[in-house]
Amino acid sequence: MTKETRYIELFSNPGMVALEAIPVLNYPDFIAFLDLVMGEEGTHCVAYFVVPKGDTYRFVCCMAADENHALVLFSHEQPIKPTPSLPSITVKHFQFHVFEREIHEQFGIEFEGHPWLKPIRYPFDRANQDSVMNNYPFYSIEGEGLHEVGVGPIHAGIIEPGHFRFICHGERVLHLEIHLGYQHRGMEKLFVEKQHILAQSLLAESMAGDTTVGHALAYAGAVEALAGIRVSQQRSMERIVALELERIAVHIGDTAALCTDIAYQFGQVVNEALRTIIINTTQIWCGNRFGKGLIRPGGTNYPLTQEVMATILKNLEEVEARYNQVTDRIFSLPSVLSRFEETGRVTTMQATLIGAVGMAARSSGMYRDIRWSHPFSGYVDHFYDPAMLHKGDVWARAMLRKLEVGKSMEVIREMIVEMTNDQLPMTNDQLPMTNDQLPMTNDQLPMTNEKSENPNYDLKLAPDSLAISLVEGWRGEICHIAITDDSGNIIHYKAKDPSLHNWMALALAVRNQEISDFPLCNKSFNLSYCGNDL
């Protein structure tokens, strides 16, 4: 078998491919090829899922080759009956554990040798209806002096539900198991049920309300790719402004929350007020503090006006000065540092093994950022150099937020300058990557008319195709995949919030920590419950 027929490579994000163009391998070849690509630095799995069709299950795998800025797709097929039982990939490549668990839970497919074949979210249409929330198979250790602590699903604050089960020796946590699913709303099935693009946009916005822009952008990208259109340069840059405003707001809010969890009220109160300024800026733009209604396939109802741009710039200046002032104080206080430093450490090796994404990965020394590796929307013409830290502790995750707030502000300013001054000459420094290094097939797509760029809810989608759309939300890599049937209706929708990968990072972070540090560790990741449960 030649190399060419084993996979298909996409160099655009979002990318679109005919279903039949994705090679189907037999399972041993599939694994052999997977071993090959996993051997390359920075390559990780963004999606591995099953599409049932007729009497076969099609397992589609999408790998992100970060160094090549490419997406690699390949697949294998198994008969539906009898229920397949396959050697587990997780044994060799641990980051596949979530994907195999997801497939197992949904279809009952066995993965031989999988070390942790546990439920992920108890979807309503799971294969085994006898597997219910109340009989989650918790890991247990027998031993004198050990005790278990159960927390949740309802927690002390106003947050989403999830259950945490600790096995402790005294105050020390030996093991944490995270049992989710309480937030399951049947999201992916609803995308298929509601064929209307407006309804699907609203669903995407509710995927995780704290990542409204991120998920709405991932959805819009997938649909636009299937419809064979792309929005104007102006709209693309506006979308990035919205995305980065969301990131700034949450990062500042999390800085406040981290201060709350170490009882440093001063830091909490000052940061809370700054977050308010940012989300109110988004509200001035589109009428909603979370950006709901802002991102739509084909265009927007809220073009970024000169007036709003001026407000954004003014508010950023104010927030930047005050945020720097207060975080300089936070990160120099011994009482803060003694709680942040060396707490909840995730090593680079752990993060790499579990396939951590986003800021959790970057604070553990992994160079992983979709804005850099697979640029989308306004980032296609805008080089982004991710902020990086290596310690992997609460301090690193808090500090990375500070660094990313600064970087996002820089991006927004640059975007606004570009938008207001089209004639601005681009120097080579600003565009370190030439188009040859970064082939963007999207360039060939027809561009919608900038002036009359309203949302388009009547887009005709390509039949029998797969679109994949990656977005670096504030938590990390968001992946939306839409598959159409022969008449262009979406028949399968796969959404992934970065939390799916990163919950395992939290479980590892609290090992050998004091249980009293759990809230701090939890907040330092601030993962999504509904994004995991869908």
Partner: protein, 271 residues
């Protein structure tokens, strides 16, 4: 206090919204909609078809009360409604019919009567609470101190964040003695967000049972009131709401902190 903190606080200034009852949101905020009295049957049908959550109703049998608008005959007129218990405030109907439907920046939309969330064409009246239908013990006991326990049942974390914001340094509803507490044992009522997922049905019931009587139920956000975009979805279980009366409906996607706080103040009878 060290000098650095003082400098930070000086720049921080006063952050609280001084008058929560009369604060003004920007015009672009999507609050209570207004439907023009001269909306035609065809126009109403158009937006009814567009609305992904069936929030829009069109009833040709009942023409809008009030004077006819010049230039439109009675035949064309129709009673068009938007149910804010279902509306996701996406504003698409207003974009489809500019001049006929608009969303005002009036954030005071909470009420204790479900039917009052239905806004009809030709009616630009504020949504109000019906004081006669408020249970007596609510105003007797909770007027000056109200402790609430929040439960997210499939919420997307935006309503949850707005409820957190209601108690933050800007909105500070604590000034009225209203706050969220950790234990249902300490609470006077339950605030539910999210469309009520199947998997939260049991924890929600346990939490409600743990709250000492008398207790109230508040639904915060369109998802909680009707299920929102998830209504009729396969993974919901809304039986809980059939069992108990709801004391306050707070619409919004998510509800703005001002919508929530003003709703509560109306309910407990504070000025």
């Amino acid at each position: 206090m060290p000098l650095k903190e003082i400098n930070i606080l000086r720049r921080h200034g006063r952050q609280y919204v001084p008058d929560l009852r009369n604060a003004v949101l920007p015009d672009i905020f999507r609050g209570r909609p207004v439907i023009s009295g001269d909306i035609t049957a065809a126009e109403a049908e158009l937006v009814k078809k567009l609305c992904p959550v069936n929030a829009i109703g069109a009833d040709p049998a009942a023409p809008t009360p009030g004077p006819l608008v010049a230039g439109s005959s009675e035949m064309e007129q129709i009673r068009c409604t938007i149910d804010l218990g279902k509306c996701l405030f996406c504003r698409e109907c207003a974009f489809a019919l500019p001049g006929k439907i608009s969303f005002t920046h009036d954030y005071k939309m909470a009420t204790n009567v479900r039917d009052r969330l239905v806004v009809a064409s030709g009616n630009d009246q504020p949504i109000q609470l019906d004081p006669d239908k408020v249970r007596r013990e609510i105003r007797l006991l909770f007027k000056h101190a109200l402790k609430l326990r929040q439960v997210s049942a499939g919420g997307d974390n935006s309503a949850e964040m707005e409820l957190n914001a209601a108690g933050n340094v800007n909105f500070d509803m604590g000034r009225y003695g209203i706050e969220f507490v950790a234990s249902p044992r300490h609470a006077d009522g339950l605030v539910i967000t999210g469309p009520l997922s199947q998997h939260m049905a049991e924890p929600l019931q346990i939490c409600y049972d743990a709250i000492p009587s008398p207790k109230m139920i508040i639904l915060a956000g369109t998802d909680a009131i009707s299920g929102g975009i998830f209504q009729g979805g396969p993974a919901l279980n809304r039986d809980f709401l059939d069992k108990y009366p709801v004391d306050l409906f707070v619409p919004g996607n998510p509800p703005h902190p001002l919508t929530f706080i003003n709703g509560i103040l109306d309910l407990i009878g504070r000025r």
